[in-house]
Amino acid sequence: MTGRRAWLLIALGLGVLAALPLLSTGSVLTWGFQVLLYVALAQSWNVLGGFGGQVSLGHAAFFGLGAVVTRMMWLSGHPLGVALSAGMVAATVAGVLIGAPTLRLRGPYFAIGTLAVAEILRITVSNVFPEVSTLSAPALASYALAPRYLLALMAAALSTLVAWMLTQTRFGYGLAVVRDDEAVAEAVGVNAFRHKLAVFVLSSALAGLTGGVFGYYHVSFYPQFAFSPLWTFDALLITFFGGTGTVWGPPLAAAVYLLFREVLALRLVELHVLVFGILFVLVVLAFPGGLLAAWRALSAGRVRQTHRS
């Protein structure tokens, strides 16, 4: 596919997604919102874990900070744009504060370190804000899904654009070297720590924005649940499912993952968690490189077959 054709297809896809609120019912839009939210979240983790090679288990902290700060500011009367920006800034600042010390650690120590920080934040938030945050009855009466959906689309598009830029820019190339071998990166003049910190902060900001969209979308939630480790693990699973370090793997995987999870929940009731886990393991075993790699392998297989015949 030529570059021009690809851009045309992307623009067309975005156009269709942006027009969805005009074309579809609330049910499709709700599902679309969830997929886009997970695309944005997974992509924000992919930027750090896939492109940067830093497996963080504390991603929920930034999502949660974005959600809580945005919601509190929005519900206290600030314009939505200001509230979303504040949520993103809070997550960015937290990214610097948490990233600077934890990125001195490597491999499993980094993973455990980030998980510990996120859990500390979750417990603190649950102690300070233990009560449910519910929209008032008048706010619920005028609740509109379309703007929430469009915000999620914006967050998903932005995070995917950031992921794409990492495949095109000098910073992205430097990051790829750091991911593959830090010693080599230092040897060729790439400052590994600065690259890691920069991508950590970038990832945190995107997670904060996604959290902000979640905070604006949900009619009611407990603040501590926005810090649940499940937000980290869902993002991580979707990224691995789609293909780490790829631009289009997480969006593809988010759609399949959510469809899969919701259909199982609908059909199997309390057994769905168990069956989902088993099927997920089967999928990972069958497609070790992720959905995108499987798709490419299938396409390559078809091309070879065409050539043979």
Binding site: G26, S27, V28, T30, W31, Q34, I123, S126, N127, P130, E131, V132, T134, L135, S136, A137, P138, L140, A141, Y143, H218, V219, S220, F221, Y222, F225, A226, S228, L230, V256, L259, F260, E262, V263, L264, A265, L266, R267, V269, E270, H272, V273, L279, L282, V283, L285, A286, F287, A294, G301
Partner: protein, 412 residues
């Protein structure tokens, strides 16, 4: 050669997984009927069937299922001049309020339900009620005593279940009626869960204590899922507390009782609402779970019409009379069905309006609703006695004597 075979096996494995995924997904596509009225009237229930509230959630589900079977046995729901079978769609929220919300959205998106039925636990209901309000679909929830959520001005929330203000007063009235004046546990310790419901009830127990002759000597908060309760237990012991009031989750409740025993703190009365509701309480604690009082909203010893039949069904399926939450859950279905029949329509707003004017004899007694959606229902207290839940309040109506005081742990 070997590589070719291996590649083929890999390919087959991938195809098999793809086919499996496709089959699962296609099987979940909604099947919609054609015509003005659907083939079934769908009630959507999001219940915690896994996670911290699984025990209580299982009881709620059983109540809904029994009620739906009974309604269908008499021909279904009468909508105008048609009898339509009732269909229960149950989803598990894994005891996670965020999933409660998304699953309620799924029920509307995929199933087109006429009304929502709630799960178990105040925090899950609090999250769910707002979704019902947004979607303008009536919501009937039991096992849910949080009063604050009824003060938001919601119009689609109904709960035929006792609420915190009635529990606070009812607890003291019960103690005064059941225990002679000189033996009453006048010094009360409140172990307040750091949640909206935990705080609400702690505040109400404290503010209402003096007028009934009690004094709150300790009111300490703890976090949900805390492992160590020794600090608050020792404070209560040091203050000479004779009664402990709390509303923990089942895992926290078990931990509190075990640690009270380890620290040899033996109050005369223990009121432990929610944690002691499920049968798993006595299975986990044995005789240490005895003497604990709970406020589940119902008991199988009730003599209202239909209770004996529920007990027989429960006995047949689970080998014991109906659990405490089965009755209120059953009543919820009775209320919704009655509202649909009076509305003569499946329009959720019409059903909501009919529910607001409910005046129905159910398996939990006569039910009416206040304007805030709280039910006017009997207040019930149950005590674990010899590994069995016995009705101890209201007196009469099948109630047994309240066992008091609770003996020291070592003496059991």
């Amino acid at each position: 050669m070997t590589e070719n075979i291996w590649a083929e096996v890999q390919g087959m494995r991938r195809r098999a997984v793809v086919i499996l995924i496709a089959a699962v997904m296609l099987s979940g596509l909604p099947q919609r009927g054609v015509g003005a009225l659907p083939a079934t009237v769908k009630l959507g229930a999001v219940i915690p069937l896994t996670g911290r509230f699984a025990g209580g959630g299982g009881q709620v589900r059983a109540g809904y299922e029994f009620a739906v079977v009974d309604v269908n046995a008499r021909g279904g729901v009468r909508v105008g001049d048609r009898q339509i079978p009732l269909e229960l769609v149950v989803l598990d929220d894994e005891s996670d309020p965020t999933k409660t919300v998304s699953r309620l959205e799924t029920l509307v998106a995929q199933q087109g339900v006429a009304a929502y039925l709630g799960g178990f636990g105040s925090d899950l209901h609090a999250a769910a009620a707002a979704v019902a309000e947004k979607n303008r679909i009536p919501y009937c929830g039991v096992a849910f005593a949080l009063h604050a959520i009824h003060q938001q001005g919601f119009k689609f929330l109904f709960s035929p279940f006792i609420k915190s203000p009635d529990i606070a007063i009812g607890t003291y009235r019960f103690l005064n009626a059941s225990v002679p004046s000189e033996q009453r546990p006048r010094s009360v310790a409140i172990f307040a869960e750091r949640t909206d419901w935990g705080r609400e009830l702690a505040r109400l127990w404290t503010t209402r204590s003096a007028e009934f002759g009690y004094r709150v000597v300790v009111a300490e908060e703890y976090s949900v899922g805390a492992r160590d309760f020794s600090d608050i237990i020792l404070r209560a012991k040091a203050a000479g507390a004779e009664a402990v009031f709390s509303v923990p989750t089942p895992p926290d409740g078990l931990a509190i009782i075990r640690q009270m025993k380890e620290l040899d703190f033996s109050p005369k009365a223990i009121v432990m609402i929610r944690a002691a509701d499920a049968v798993s309480w006595t299975q986990a604690l044995g005789k240490d779970g005895d003497y604990v009082v709970l406020a589940p909203g119902w008991h199988h010893a009730f003599t209202y019409p239909g209770v004996a039949e529920i007990n027989a069904k429960h006995q047949q399926r689970f080998g014991r009379p109906a659990d405490v939450l089965v009755g209120p859950s059953y009543a919820c279905v009775q209320i919704v069905v009655n509202a649909i029949e009076r509305a003569g329509s499946l329009d959720p707003v019409a059903i909501r309006d009919a529910m607001a004017t409910t005046d129905l004899q159910t398996v939990e007694g006569p039910v009416r609703f206040r304007s805030d959606g709280t039910g006017i229902v009997p207040f019930v207290l149950v005590q674990w006695q010899g590994g069995v839940q016995q009705l101890v309040w209201p007196q009469g109506a099948g109630a047994t004597a309240f066992q008091y005081p609770a003996p020291p742990w070592r003496g059991r």
